[in-house]
């Protein structure tokens, strides 16, 4: 009965943790990182050079996912490779690559929306609050909390993937996992709203009309911004965020093009007097 040593598993984990994207290209994305990470395991399980080369070939196909949550896939294939070396039936290149291909899409979705899209911005948001006045507390808080929690999480799911092997698939795409994921995403939506409310501030300088000061008789401007905020604070900001979202998700406009549109809106808006930051030296 062959068993992967702790040292090889840990080598495989750290290689993936470090190397998942170091040699990124659009052609093979994370394939080289994957092979580099599987190599210690393959070399330990199979004695001959020919066998090693053959087994490494299993990991030639394209691989790309959110690499941090993707640790679990590498763990799973380590478990599967061990079972295959012990002669388990039904584990062949096709089965392993079926699992890899089947998981990389859903995991990229979870990783992008939960880790990169929600967890990191929330940590950064807290760090921004701590940084006010130029305090180093903010960056230090982020460096420590993000790295400790993230590395712990990656090691945890790698080990879980190895333990469970193919059974881990249910843990990721099963119904309970779906319910949990959907609920976390509910939290994500509310936080994204709160982030927009806290950090984005788009104001117009349009003056609707002039009123008269009853005492002095001076003209005082009536700002559109104040009227809008009276109805729903920050509504103009919200409209802009929703416009960008609508363009990207419903009209399939790329983020770069939406940014270009913002450049145009900024220039046109200033020229017609809609925007005026009112800054001077």
């Amino acid at each position: 009965m062959k068993k992967i040593s702790k040292a090889s598993l840990s080598k495989s984990f750290w290689r993936w943790w470090y190397g998942n994207l170091t040699c990124f290209t659009h052609e093979h994305m994370q394939t080289f990182g994957y092979m580099w990470s599987m190599l210690p395991i393959i070399q330990e399980l199979y004695p001959t050079k020919e066998e090693q080369a053959e087994k490494l070939r299993t990991y030639y196909p394209f691989f790309n996912t959110e690499p941090q949550i993707g640790c679990i896939v590498v763990g799973i294939t380590a478990g599967l490779e061990e079972a295959r070396a012990n002669g388990a039936e039904g584990i062949d290149d096709e089965m392993i690559n079926g699992i890899r291909a089947g998981l990389m899409g859903p995991l990229a979705g979870i990783g992008d929306s939960l880790i990169v899209g929600t967890y990191i911005p929330v940590l950064l948001g807290i760090a921004l609050g701590l940084s006010e006045g130029g305090s180093v507390l903010g960056p230090i808080f982020y460096i420590i909390v993000w790295n400790i929690t993230s590395i712990w999480f990656q090691k945890f799911i790698y080990d879980k993937g190895y333990e469970l092997g193919g059974n881990a698939v249910e843990m990721i795409v099963g119904e309970q996992a779906m319910a949990f994921r959907e609920s976390i995403i509910v939290l994500g939506r509310i936080i994204v709203g709160a982030m927009a409310g806290s950090w984005v501030s788009i104001n117009t300088s349009v003056i609707l009309t002039y009123g008269l000061d009853p005492e002095t008789g001076d003209k005082i401007p009536v700002f559109l911004q104040e009227k809008l905020d009276g109805a729903f604070p920050g509504v103009l900001t919200m409209v802009f965020v929703l416009l960008c979202w609508w363009l990207m998700s419903k009209k399939k406009v790329s983020p770069v093009k939406v940014m270009l549109l913002m450049v145009i809106l900024a220039f046109v808006g200033v020229l017609i007097g809609f925007f005026d930051p009112g800054l001077s030296y």
Binding site: L21, M35, Y281
Partner: protein, 277 residues
């Protein structure tokens, strides 16, 4: 004030460690730690000799790019340029003009510069991915000959060559000469000019794109936007902090989980109870 070659070189070196997706220090430490402008500002501050100042000037830049997600390897902006070109140049500009770093003018300049240099980062990102193609093709050729050790070379050492060409040299040069150029910022680019106003406005519009990218990743159907609008009102109308809003959001998430699990259990009643994950 100006930036010395040593300081510029150190900033170039930091940009290598922190390059976006293919960072020399990997994804977790490189891309998601050192690449973030707020974290970078600590190191930029150490290099320039004013940590609180660099952090203060980095805050509006971090806000613009707070929600940067890179789905499928397509990036809108690589933050290495914002962090290690944008922050030092914004800092030098504001100090040269004698502006209060926490004031609206300095923060506006930081946002505008951050918006501008983001595009430099995008070029760097695609340049890095292109140049790495050489190493991968070399790797495939050696693998066919049974040379497993080539993987370590391709993964660890050869990308450093890419980083020197695409990151280290350009960042060092841009920071060194850029710092000289922004000395004359005031006369060349007056804040009252319409194009400068547009640039400042752009700095306030771009965060909306970042938030929208994020929003796209958590919204499946249009009615999900109700949560977003609610969260917006929590922060803007009720003035809740992000953590307080997280507490309220957590409540909704918990209720949602209970309901989802109840309907799940209902649907699978009769079958054996499954273990919790």
């Amino acid at each position: 004030m100006s930036i010395s070659w040593l300081q510029a070189g150190l900033l170039g070196f930091m940009s290598v460690l922190a390059a976006s997706t293919p960072a020399a220090l990997g994804t977790t430490v490189g891309n998601y730690t050192l690449n973030r402008p707020l974290v970078a500002s600590l190191f930029v501050g150490l290099i320039l000799g004013d940590v609180p100042g660099a952090i203060t000037i980095a805050i509006p830049m971090q806000i613009i790019y707070i929600a940067l997600v890179t789905p499928g390897g397509t990036v809108a902006a690589d933050l290495r340029a914002v962090s290690y070109i944008g922050i030092p140049l914004a800092y030098v500009t504001c100090v040269s003009q004698g502006l209060d770093l926490a004031g609206a003018e300095a923060q506006g300049i930081a946002g505008a510069l951050g918006a501008l240099v983001g595009t430099v980062g995008t070029v760097m990102f695609y340049g890095t991915a292109m140049m790495n193609l050489f190493w991968q093709h070399y790797g495939w050729a050696r693998l066919d000959k049974g040379d497993f050790n080539v993987l370590t070379k391709v993964e660890v050492f050869l990308p450093i060559v890419t980083h020197i060409v695409i990151s280290f040299i350009p960042v060092t040069i841009l920071v060194y000469y850029g710092a000289g150029a922004v000395e004359n910022f005031k006369s060349a680019l007056p804040m009252e000019a319409w194009y400068m106003k547009a640039l400042f406005t752009l700095g306030s519009l771009l965060p909306a794109v970042g938030i929208a990218i994020l929003l796209k990743s958590v919204i499946n159907k249009t009615t999900d936007l109700i949560y977003f609008v609610g969260g917006f009102a929590l922060a803007k109308s009720l003035g809740l902090s992000l953590l307080a809003a997280t507490a309220i959001g957590g409540m909704f998430a918990f209720v949602n989980f209970q309901i989802a699990m109840a309907s799940y259990k209902g649907a699978s009643s009769g079958a054996d109870d499954e273990e919790d994950i």
